[in-house]
Assembly symmetry: C2
DNA sequence: CTGGTTCATCGGCAATCAGCGATAGAGAAT
DNA sequence: ATTCTCTATCGCTGATTGCCGATGAACCAG
């Protein structure tokens, strides 16, 4: 039901198309239990805080991460629903690409 | 065995991070049976030939497409092996992100 | 050799990206 | 009120991207 269009898929792909942002997702996943704020992430990376903040914003805009104001800090966590959605959209895309004219006829 | 590193995943993601390039993959998939050269693709898109050629080059560099000199033309087709590899790398990535500290312990 | 087709590449242009330091605003604590 | 921490945003730089038209190489047909 929840079909992602090519534009949506492409923009999520672009958001994921940077190694630092993949690292950020991993960091958030590891520290998912507790709170994970921007400086926490920054301390795991050899980058300035402002740079990390901007990468996080990209992930936010792509809907892959959500913000929770928790006391003083802003805490971030993964939107696993969106990740799953994107994952299945990917699989669908690739399945559609692989199965076309050539091999066995698929069941519509 | 064939683990893709984050850098590899990210560069494939970047290659897929443009709607036109997704369209090109779809076009190649449809016309996979026959030959599909650059002008064929161009005629399916509202873009100049040079632009399409450059998009194809991005896909080539990412290893998602291969070139076959066929007579006069250059024919392109999908590298379904690479697509599958990337797809499983994605699934692995997302699975790793979803399953961390919280729920059931996974079998290493 | 001449002419047609295909296509990769070059040069140029505007827009976007990735990085940084600096700054300002929002809360908490003193 | 003052001071601390946290962090989003601004301004700047250089690099990359996306698009185009034009050019030239490669190839086949006359």
């Amino acid at each position: 039901m929840n079909q992602m269009r090519d534009d949506d898929i492409a923009s999520v792909m672009r958001a994921l198309g940077h190694p630092v942002r993949l690292s950020i997702l991993r960091i958030l996943a590891e520290q998912d239990a507790g709170d994970c704020c921007c400086t926490d992430v920054t301390q795991c990376l050899p980058l300035a805080q402002s740079t990390v903040s901007q990468h996080i914003k990209v992930l936010l805009d792509a809907g892959l991460v959500e913000r929770q104001a928790k006391g003083t800090r802003n805490c971030y966590k993964l939107r696993t629903d969106r990740l799953a959605e994107f994952n299945s959209a990917c699989s669908g895309l690739f399945a559609g690409l692989a199965t076309t004219v050539s091999p066995v006829k698929e069941l519509a």
